[in-house]
Chain length 138, copies 3
C-alpha cells in the first residue's frame, strides 16, 4: 500500500526552521496505513529536513552551527557563476540532506517525545516549499 501526500508552506529563508510534525502526522492519519515507513522529502537544493527538539533555543543553536560550517561571508564558486548569492545555502542543504524516513507502527510514527520533524530553509530569500510525505506499508 502506498499513500502520497504533500503540503505547502511559506518560509522566510535565512535558516528559517519550521516544525512540520503536525502536517506530517495529518498526512499519516489520512493515509490509513498502520505499519510501514514514512518518507518525508523536500524538493529543491537549498532546504533540508531533519529532526530536533523544536524549541527556539536548540533551533537557533543548529542554525548558528550551520552558519559556522558554511558562512555566507566567504567566497563561493556558485555565486561567481550564477550571481544569486546563495552558495552557502546549497552547501548547508547538501550536508544536512533533503529527507528522512521514519518507522510507522500502529498508525503512529516512532518519534521521541521531544523529537520533531523540521524543515530548514537555507535559501537567502523567502520561499514557498512543497513537502512530500510518502507512506509505504500495510
Amino acid at each position: 500500500m502506498v499513500r502520497s501526500h504533500s503540503f505547502e508552506l511559506n518560509t522566510a529563508g535565512h535558516d528559517d526552521t519550521i516544525d512540520i510534525t503536525p502536517d506530517v502526522k495529518r498526512a499519516v492519519a489520512r493515509g490509513g496505513v498502520n505499519d510501514g515507513v514514512v518518507c518525508v522529502f523536500v524538493p529543491g537544493s537549498t532546504a533540508a529536513i531533519t529532526t530536533i527538539e523544536a524549541e527556539a533555543g536548540a533551533i537557533a543553536d543548529l542554525a548558528e552551527c550551520m552558519r559556522r560550517l558554511a558562512p555566507s561571508s566567504i567566497k563561493y564558486k556558485h555565486n561567481e557563476r550564477w550571481g544569486d548569492g546563495n552558495g552557502h545555502s546549497h552547501v548547508r542543504a547538501a550536508i544536512m540532506g533533503p529527507g528522512l524516513s521514519i518507522p510507522l507502527s500502529g498508525g503512529e510514527m516512532l518519534l521521541g517525545t521531544w523529537q520533531q520533524i523540521v524543515l530548514i530553509d537555507f535559501d537567502n530569500r523567502p520561499r514557498k516549499r512543497t513537502v512530500h510525505v510518502q507512506i509505504v506499508g500495510e
Copy 2:
C-alpha cells in the same frame, strides 16, 4: 510485507559510538523478508545513526570532528533556556540525522565489507536507547 523490530542498548553518552550491525542483522534474519528496505531509526534528539568502518580509530576521529563542529565549550541558547547542558548534543544529532535506510536483497543488507551501522549517543550522560528496525519488502 512489513516487519517491526526494536532493541534496547545502554550507552555512556559523550559521543559513545556503538556498532549495532549485529542487532540489525538479527532483526532482519528474524523478519523473514528477502527483498526490500531496512529503515533503522533512533527516537530522541541527542543520538544519531550513520555508517562507518567501526574500528576504534575512525570512530574516535568522527567524534573528534563532531566536537570541532559543535564544541561543548561554547554558548548554546538551549542551555540558557533549559539548563541541561546538552545544547551541543542536539546540534550534533540534528546534523548527522536519526536514521538510515539500507537496501535488502536475498535476505542480506547491501552494506560494504568494512561498513557498519553505528549509533552515536551525543548526550552528556549515559542513556538507555531504543532502536527501531522497520523492514518493508517481500
Copy 3:
C-alpha cells in the same frame, strides 16, 4: 512490489562528485514501479550520497566545505592504526551519509528541477563504486 537495480561507476576519489541522476532514473524506468520510495545507497565507508544543484560551482563549494570540516592535513587515529591515509575520507562520508530515500509518484522521482542526486567519493584514490537503487512500491 520490490525492484532491485545496481550500477557501477569509476571515480577519481579526492571528493570526486558525480551526478548519478540519469542512472537512477534509468533504474526507476526499468523497474516499472509507479508509486513508492526509491532508496539509493552506496556500499563502503568512504563515499556518500546526497542531493545538490549539480553545477561545477556548487559542487566545488561543497567539497571545499567538507575539506574545512575534516581536513586531510590533521592527525587521524585511523591513519595511525591502518596507515592508508584516508581517515578524513571516513569522517566526511559518515557525516554526509551513504544513502537517500526519494518519493516516487506516477513513475517519476519527486526531485526539484535543480536538484540532482550525486555520489561523492571522499577516498584518497580512484575507486570503482557500486550504487544500489532499491524501489519499494506498487
